[in-house]
């Protein structure tokens, strides 16, 4: 062995020693935990490099960029110890000590057990291809740009306890609770948030707006929640993104179905369903069994310049853009690959936002059952018809009237808000104002104190 090759041999041995070797079954278990946690959905950018980061998350306080979490030692988390990894996932604290924003659902991931955490680490170190490329960095407006501001938030709102089984419940229920509350992080989207973006525990899974989409009430309320669903319907929904005659997944739920739920075992989906069916009911507007088949075609068909009512205008937009797949009466297809628009949660309850979001953004969902794809009608390059805000509003109002609850209406401004990515929070303004007012108050007190002191001095 020459000097050079000997050195090379030692260098190689050293690097191999540095990388822990985890058993394959542990790595596989970690892969499953990562799937259940749907890490890939947020940590993969438009370049489609798994876990490479560069994924923009539109938050109410500004864009947050999910980072490179591949084991790259230069741009990823390759240098993380298991403790550092665990702290990032379950406490929201990076290896450098800085705080993560709760767009990373560490408040839910805190439930992940030590065993699953160990497996997850093994998977990310050994089962993921490193990508040595940087990811976009998050830069929020003051004061959120100061990551330490999250420390106070964590003190107030983060619960660091791992999952503990409830002995009063079945093993299946407990498994479901673990998956739903922990890795599955259902409440991250489905629980409305308070003033400071914390989940409102009193409204657990009662439904919340997430970007352009509304993550609906999934409590056991029969009308507003999913209390009317059978267990097998919930399982089918999670596995395929569709519960026939009820609802179908779009937006980030379509991603969750594509990347995560459809890849879980039938037992685990059953466990999640068992748990979800037991979540305390929170009442909301009815969203199933509403609307009827029908059309207003007679108002405009074959008429050169029809004098259209608002609903007639919406019906004509429906005819031109939607009827080819969803049917002239909104009935969908026999196999419901193209869902009916009546008896559908997207045209009822708080479904109008989702109807608008589906029209503007389309639907894209891929499972073993096939690739469900509805083209967008926004300004995307594959939008063959770009509907403007007024047209989308007219279409939505027609759909809600004919196929939905018959009362909900939206305005062109509402559509513009969804088109822009969903309502933004005024929290940035509020907090900045509070800080400014606080600073002013402090200044007033200081000045007053100085004046009083001087007066006393003079008086003395």
């Amino acid at each position: 062995m020459t000097m050079k090759t000997t050195l090379a041999f030692f260098a190689l041995s050293a690097s191999m020693a540095a990388a822990q070797t985890f058993p394959d079954d542990l790595v596989e278990r970690g892969r499953y935990v990562a799937t259940a946690s749907d890490c890939v959905a947020c940590h993969t950018g438009p370049e489609d490099k798994p876990f490479g980061g560069n994924h923009r998350i539109a938050s109410p306080v500004g864009d947050i960029w999910a980072t490179n979490i591949t084991p790259s030692t230069t741009h990823g988390i390759g240098n993380y110890t298991e403790q550092q990894f665990s702290d990032a996932v379950r406490r929201g604290i990076r290896a450098d000590g800085a705080n993560l924003y709760p767009a990373m659902p560490y408040t839910a991931f805190a439930r992940i057990t030590d065993e699953d955490m160990h497996a997850l680490y093994a998977y990310f170190m050994q089962g993921v291809e490193p990508i040595d490329e940087p990811s976009q960095q998050t830069a929020l407006a003051f004061p959120f740009g100061l990551r330490f501001s999250m420390m106070g938030w964590n003190l107030l709102f983060a619960d660091s306890a791992t999952h503990q089984d409830d002995p009063a419940k079945s093993a299946e229920w407990n498994r479901g609770a673990y998956l739903a509350e922990g890795p599955g992080h259902c409440s991250t989207c489905h629980t409305p948030r308070g003033m400071l973006m914390q989940e409102d525990g009193g409204q657990y899974l009662a439904g919340a707006q997430v970007g352009p989409w509304f993550a609906p009430n999934i409590t056991s309320d029969k009308a507003g929640g999913i209390g009317s669903w059978r267990k097998d319907e919930i399982v089918a929904y999670l596995a395929t993104g569709r519960a026939e005659g009820k609802s179908q997944a779009g937006g980030s739920m379509a991603e969750a179905v594509s990347h995560s739920f459809s890849k879980l075992t039938a037992d685990d989906l059953g466990a999640i369903a068992t748990y979800i069916m037991d979540v305390p009911a929170i009442a909301g507007p009815a969203r199933f069994d509403l609307g009827t088949a029908g059309n207003r075609t007679a108002e405009f068909r074959g008429i050169a310049d029809p004098d259209l009512t608002d609903l007639g205008a919406g019906a004509q937009i429906y005819s031109a853009n939607c009827a080819a797949c969803h049917g002239y009466d909104g009935q969908g297809t026999k196999d419901q690959y193209y869902p009916s628009l009546f008896n559908n949660s997207d045209t009822a309850g708080k479904g109008a936002n989702n109807f608008v979001a589906a029209v503007l953004n389309g639907v894209n969902r891929k499972t073993d059952q096939g690739h469900v794809f509805m083209p967008p009608f926004g300004t995307q390059t594959n939008a063959f018809n770009s509907l403007d805000d007024g047209e989308v509003a007219a279409l939505t109002n027609y759909a809600m009237n004919q196929f939905g609850d018959g009362v909900t209406t939206v305005s062109a401004e509402d559509v513009a808000t969804i088109r822009a990515g969903g309502p933004t929070s005024n929290m940035v303004k509020v907090v900045q104002t509070l800080i400014a007012v606080g600073a002013a108050l402090v200044a007033v007190v200081l000045i007053a104190t100085v004046i009083v002191l001087r007066r006393r001095k003079r008086a003395a």
Partner: protein
């Protein structure tokens, strides 16, 4: 207003769009100029739905032409036809071109189809062989998203494919399966699934899957069928500038007989001049030779690219004859796309020395539209009429014989004395399908069609008249390709022999028609042209 661009593409149909995208991907600057308007799919869909039933079979009825960009349209004289047969193609001058209303049928040529002269002593040989074209067919099938059969026995041509189709073929409907079985068992003829530019069972190219509206002609309401209009937003996102409602009426030559500019009228009849380095004229096989002839100048007194006198000559099509007959058992055609299967093997053989080959297309348009009139003419009313419509919808078949045609310099496009709205001379075409086709109709096609009809139990077969042929929408030959500059207009790269920076790709360049629809061959040739253009631009 754009007054200059590195590459200028006139026409936004499939050929122009594919070339434009290839150039954009190579980093070239591209300006596309379209004579007609840019309309939304929703508008076309509603135009179609608002048509009276009788007008619905007319593929162009949903596309009323703009005054400044006339195209063949019911009640409007644009294309003059002279000669023994009527030349009546449908094409539209809209952004996106005539793929708006194509059926999506995507047959390749066979190696034999490209060597008629050397193999059978008729027509012309192509400037290259099938193996040369094959990789460009593969590119086309991927670009347009073509679904086709995986079973080699169902593939056309029947030879090993160098790449599989990007999507599986669409399933045959119940009636098509039945027809296929009867053809196989009774006649030994194989009715094969049509390769077609349609998303089968999956999204492709960011477009949705076919949902079987049976509405491909005149418009796919959902964009599951490829049409060039689906690519225009993407081309713009890649940097293309698209001018619509801009009618190019003159191609200007300069030093060395290179093209230096094109001139177009806007909708207010104001003329504009745009200069460029590389020019692609892809306005289809009628409008391209028309533009070449209109642009005659001192250097090119017979028209641009016309030193061979072949511009406008050798006009070709697939002359058609339709057979409608009644079966004994119900077939219920009309589920799925409008053309989904056909018999191609009748298009090959030594008989091509004597007469044209034929492709039998089983039309899958829902039958109720066409037979409703017939049922009403029977005098029945009420329930009896309903039952008659139902009976005929289930049991009538429409099979179309599509003939190949030879290039004949007498089949010629010239400029009419009649003028269009802008004052430009209208195209005029002398049209004679020729004895080669007529012989085939009498000796080959009619007897075969009769056997097909009898095989499905029809007793009402009527042979087609050898005098009567309808026109396909497959415009070929007017700027024919060849290696010899004395007898052809463009070279193997669809570049004109006369002008080093002028390309005339598309159906006009095709040297033979074979029997299958021409679009993917045109597109494959467009890719060849685009490669040549890009390498010239990069080398310059």
């Amino acid at each position: 207003m754009t007054s200059s661009s590195q590459v200028i593409v006139v026409g936004t149909g499939v050929v122009g769009s594919v070339i434009a995208e290839h150039c954009l991907d190579a980093g070239l600057e591209v300006l596309m100029i379209e004579a007609g308007p840019r309309v939304s799919r929703a508008q076309i869909v509603e135009n179609y739905r608002n048509l009276p039933l009788g007008a619905k079979p007319d593929a162009t009825a949903s596309y009323p032409p703009a005054d400044w960009a006339p195209h063949p349209f019911h009640g409007l004289e644009h294309l003059e036809s002279t000669g023994p047969n009527k030349y009546d193609p449908t094409y539209i001058r809209y952004a996106g071109g005539s793929t708006w209303h194509w059926a999506g049928t995507s047959w390749r040529l066979t190696p034999e189809d490209m060597q008629l002269r050397s193999r059978y002593g008729v027509g012309r040989d192509w400037a290259f062989d099938y193996e040369t074209l094959d990789p460009y067919y593969n590119m086309t099938e991927r670009k347009l998203g073509i679904c086709g059969p995986a079973d080699p026995l169902d593939q056309w041509p029947r030879r090993d494919r160098s790449m599989p189709y990007p999507m599986p073929h669409l399933p045959l409907s119940q009636g098509e399966r039945k027809f296929t079985e009867v053809m196989q068992t009774k006649l030994g003829l194989r009715n094969v699934p049509v390769a077609q530019a349609r998303n089968s069972g999956m999204p492709y190219d960011d477009r949705p899957a076919c949902c079987a509206n049976n509405n491909c002609v005149p418009v796919c309401p959902v964009g599951a069928k490829y049409d060039a209009a689906t690519s225009l937003n993407r081309l713009e996102a890649k940097g293309a500038t698209i001018l619509d409602n801009s009618v190019v009426y003159r191609v200007e030559t300069g030093e060395g007989n290179r093209i230096v500019a094109v001139h177009y009228y806007d909708r207010d009849k104001t003329s504009h001049r745009v200069t460029g380095e590389h020019f692609v004229i892809a306005c289809n096989g009628v409008e391209t030779p028309r533009l070449m002839l209109m642009s005659a100048d001192d250097r090119n007194p017979n028209g641009i690219a016309n030193s061979s006198d072949q511009v406008g000559r050798n006009m070709m099509d697939h002359p058609q004859q339709g057979y409608t007959f009644t079966t004994t058992e119900p077939y219920w055609l009309g589920a799925g796309p409008v053309v989904n299967s056909g018999i191609m093997e009748t298009s090959q053989g030594d008989f091509r020395r004597d007469h044209a080959a034929v492709y039998f297309r089983l039309n899958n348009f829902a039958r109720n539209r066409d037979i409703a009139k017939r049922a009403m003419a029977s005098g029945k009313v009420g329930r009896a009429l309903d039952e008659e419509i139902r009976r005929l919808t289930a049991t009538s078949l429409n099979v179309v014989a599509a003939f190949e045609m030879l290039p004949d310099p007498n089949n010629r496009l010239t400029l009419s004395a009649q003028k269009d709205w802008l004052g430009l001379p209208r195209p005029s075409v002398y049209w004679d399908v020729g004895d080669y086709v007529r012989r085939s109709s009498v000796e080959y096609s009619n007897p075969l069609a009769q056997r097909i009809a009898e095989a499905v139990g029809a007793t009402d077969f009527k042979p087609a008249s050898p005098e009567k042929f309808s026109t396909s929408k497959h415009i070929m030959g007017g700027t024919i390709m060849g290696n010899d500059a004395a007898t052809s207009v463009v070279d193997r790269h669809s570049r004109t022999h006369d002008h080093a920076n002028l390309y005339l790709p598309g159906g006009g360049a095709m040297a033979s028609t074979a029997c299958g629809n021409s679009t993917i061959t045109m597109t494959a040739m467009a890719f060849m042209a685009a490669e040549a253009l890009v390498s010239e631009a990069k080398g310059a």
